[in-house]
């Protein structure tokens, strides 16, 4: 099966009008990716009415083009403006922006483009390998594994905040508080809503992340830039050079273990519904930073800090199709909208989807592959022009980015309250930058908090309150518990002078 259909799909992409839809999707994806607040999900949601009149396969090419291109687009704004274009690019800002300030923006973009394309390819290759066992993979991840993955994520973040443990924990508590707002899935009661029924569904992710990263960064830039053209931020931006694009490309191949690990983390996290690219990128970043020999240079402009999240971020697209091919369920917000497009074309997503709609699914895989490579090539070609963004006066950049990102937040659901949320959290985010509180722990706690609570309750009910016993009986759970313990003790283990111990033993 598989391979001939895959080959057919490749041939048909380069025939006739299909390529036009694919390229349109890539351009749209890049644009939506670059603009903070807008992302792949928004682009796809806006496209739904458009695809209505298209052939199902053309709709797939358009959707695939968008999905494959947004995350690389988002890394461009993350590197150049310290403002992630899409939520998963937040981890790319940690080392991407310092690199840009050191005049190595070209190197960072080169690395991001290559890592994105390679990560995307590895993710899709893994998907092809996984298709025969996709069912087993999905069935072996139950509520217990969901819960343990969120705990592993929270543990990884807790130890990654060096020297700011208390501040990190405080930020994480705020993140949990935000995550628990809205209807409790178990009692149906509403919490922390203050009688506002906008909050019934909780605090929405995209407005919150846009506020925390984009708006806060713009406030920071605006205040730094001020009215004086020769301010610190402006001169920093002016000094940026666009050199070393090829250096960045080679860096990815030089650090291939980082690329591989990132892609693998991305694929696995992508395969688990509800976790998504943000968690994948953060986990990939923190695990790379934790295990690197030169971990002290992370956050100060280490190229591996760009490669790791970008590889994961793109590999997750392949991974998120694993539950789709196995059961016809979405592995990410993008695939959810993508399945919505299928429904509109009279295709019923379900466990038989790969058998009944082989052409559409393989069409999407091909579209994602071509898109991941195409977007990166476009990025490399235009990198020099793109970097000019950083040379524009902040007095122009700030209003443009603020307007675009708040418009993006509004467009998603058409709710003015979302814009208010982005603004309020933007101010909180600025205060966090100003007083040196890590925003990272807040985000992770916010993203994982609800899943952690929900899956813990489920495990409790499923196991008749014997949570630990139930988990220890499940192999993947045991692996995750061990991984969590190792994560916690890694920093302490590093302090042990192993070489001395060995010598004294002998």
């Amino acid at each position: 099966m598989g391979l001939d259909v895959l080959f057919d799909a490749f041939v048909s992409v380069f025939n006739g009008g299909s390529l036009t839809f694919l390229i349109a999707g890539v351009l749209l994806g890049l644009t939506f990716g670059v603009i903070p607040g807008l992302g792949g999900t928004t682009a796809l949601a806006l496209l739904i009415p458009v695809t209505y009149t298209l052939q199902p396969l053309d709709a797939m090419y358009l959707a695939g083009g968008v999905m494959g291109a947004t995350s690389f687009g988002g890394s461009i704004s993350a590197i150049l403006l310290n403002t992630p274009g899409t939520a998963p690019n937040a981890a790319t800002t940690f080392d991407g922006y310092p690199l840009a300030r050191q005049g190595k923006a070209g190197m960072a973009i080169g690395a991001s483009a290559t890592a994105s394309a390679m990560g995307g390819l590895i993710g899709l290759f893994t998907l092809l390998l996984f298709i025969p066992v996709a069912r087993e993979v999905v069935l072996s991840f139950g509520s217990a594994e969901f819960f343990l993955l969120t705990i592993l994520g929270l543990a990884a973040i807790a130890v990654s905040v060096k020297g700011k443990l208390l501040r990190g924990l405080l930020a994480a508590c705020i993140g949990l508080l935000l995550a628990f707002t809205g209807a409790n899935q178990f009692t149906g009661e509403t919490r922390f809503t203050g009688g506002i029924n906008y909050l019934w569904d909780g605090i929405p992710l995209v407005p919150a992340l846009t506020g925390l990263f984009a708006i806060s960064q713009m406030i920071e830039l605006a205040l730094k830039g001020g009215a004086v053209a020769d301010s610190e931020a402006y001169s920093e931006a002016k000094n940026m050079k666009i050199t070393g694009v090829s250096e960045g490309v080679f860096a990815v191949f030089k650090h291939w273990p980082v690329l591989l690990r990132g892609s693998l983390i991305g694929t696995i996290i992508g395969a688990i519904p509800g976790l998504g690219g943000t968690v994948a990128a953060f986990l990939s970043y923190s695990s790379t930073a934790q295990t690197a020999k030169d971990r002290d240079t992370f956050g100060k402009g280490n190229i591996k800090g760009v490669i790791a999240p970008e590889a994961a971020n793109n590999a997750k697209d392949g991974g998120s199709l694993i539950p789709t091919v196995a059961f016809g369920i979405p592995g990410s917000a993008e695939t959810a909208v993508f399945l919505g497009i299928l429904v509109l074309h009279g295709i019923e997503p379900g466990p038989q989807i790969l058998l009944q709609n082989e052409r559409e699914i393989y069409g999407l895989i091909v579209a994602l592959t071509v898109s991941a490579i195409g977007a990166s090539l476009l990025g490399l070609i235009f990198a020099r022009v793109l970097v000019l963004i950083t040379r524009i006066d902040v007095n122009i950049v700030v209003p443009v980015v603020v307007t675009l990102s708040l418009t993006g937040v509004y467009v998603l659901e058409g709710r003015m309250a979302d814009v208010a949320v982005a603004t309020i959290i933007g101010i909180v985010g600025y205060l966090m930058i100003r007083f040196d509180y890590p925003r990272l722990t807040l985000v992770i706690a916010f993203v994982l908090g609800e899943i952690a609570e929900r899956s813990y309750h489920q495990v409790r009910l499923i196991s008749d309150d014997n949570v630990m016993g139930y988990m220890l009986g499940r192999p993947i759970s045991v692996i995750l518990i061990l991984a969590t313990i190792i994560t916690f003790f890694l920093p302490a283990m590093r302090k042990i002078p192993w070489s001395k111990l060995k010598r004294s033993a002998s």
Binding site: V138, Q185, G188, P273, G328, V337, G346, I462
Partner: protein
């Protein structure tokens, strides 16, 4: 001068106001509010009906997604619009009915809505894993421990249906809520995490033996008559009242739409329901189209309200 302007303005207002009713629906586009994001069941049925309504009524019908607050926000938006027939919406029924019965303030009252039609009714069934050895409700309830069922939110219609149904059956269960979607809830049955689930038959179909993956089997349909051959119905097990639990696709508008506009909309929706494209879509996707006009829909809404009223205490959930 001022007076002339004022008179002119009043005249124009009167003219356009009068014309709106007489020429309905030719003055404007019809906005069709969907209280959920694009891609779900409510969104799909509206997007299938919209072009058919356009063909029948000769005007443009624009679907608009206004999601949030479990479908209440879309309902509020319709409720606040002008009662000229140019804004209508699809409602989350019985989700909103249940909210109202439990005293949740959703910003508008269901009995004030101008009900226009019911487009489709989905019926529920109880499914277990195909290889579980459970063949009836008695088997399920006699497992030696409380059977576990899977659901999305505690306030979801399926979860409410599950809790009330098993209370009526006198069988103690654990309803494990919190699954991200009804597919995830069904997969939890397949993976053995829970024992059974109650879901709409159209959603379950893809996991059943006949034409589906064969991972699940049905042991009960919540219908009066036999809906699937060989599967017990609610009447068969002596509880026909369980057939009251359905998922409806109901259309309504703001309070006070004039009667002639209501009739025009009802006719447009009815014609769309008979449209060949809508019929073939319903057939391929397994959606149970069931058209009900204004009066029947209103009666059904009252009926549902009093039905859930008697189970008020079971509907309200607590840990």
């Amino acid at each position: 001068m001022k007076r002339i302007l004022a008179t002119g303005a009043t005249a124009i207002a009167l003219m356009t106001g009068g014309a709106a009713y007489a020429d309905f629906p030719m003055d404007d586009n019809i906005t069709f509010v969907i209280p959920y994001s694009p891609g779900g069941g409510f969104d799909t049925i509206v997007r299938q009906f919209a072009p058919a309504m356009e063909r029948a009524m000769g005007t443009t019908v624009v679907p608009e997604n206004i999601s949030g607050a479990g479908g209440a926000r879309g309902g509020q938006s319709v409720h606040r619009s002008d009662p000229d027939g140019y804004t209508i919406g699809i409602y989350n029924i019985p989700g909103l009915t249940v909210n109202e019965v439990t005293g949740k303030d959703q910003g508008f009252k269901l009995d004030e809505v101008t009900w226009l039609a019911n487009l489709a009714v989905e019926t529920y069934a109880l499914a277990v894993a195909a290889d579980s050895g459970i063949n009836s409700v008695e088997d399920l309830c006699a497992m030696g421990q409380k059977p576990k069922l899977s659901d999305t939110g505690a306030t979801s219609t399926a979860s409410i249906t599950t809790r009330i149904s098993f209370a009526i059956l006198g069988c103690d269960i654990v309803d494990v809520t919190g699954y991200s979607g009804s597919n995830d809830a069904m997969i939890a049955v397949i993976s053995g995490e829970v024992n059974a689930t109650i879901k709409p038959i159209t959603s379950l179909k893809k996991y059943l033996g006949d034409g589906g993956s064969g991972d699940l089997k049905l042991i009960l349909t919540l219908t009066e008559d036999e809906a699937i051959s060989g599967v017990a119905s609610a009447t068969d097990i002596g509880h026909p009242e369980l057939a009251k639990f359905t998922l409806n696709r109901v259309i309504g508008g703001p309070p006070g739409i004039p009667a002639d506009v209501v009739s025009a909309l009802e006719a447009g929706l009815r014609a769309a329901s008979d449209d060949a494209a809508v019929q073939s879509w319903a057939k391929s996707s397994g959606v149970g189209l069931k058209f009900m006009g204004v009066d029947a829909t209103r009666a059904m809404m009252d009926d549902l309200s009093s039905f859930y009223q008697q189970y008020k205490d079971m509907v309200a959930v607590s840990e």
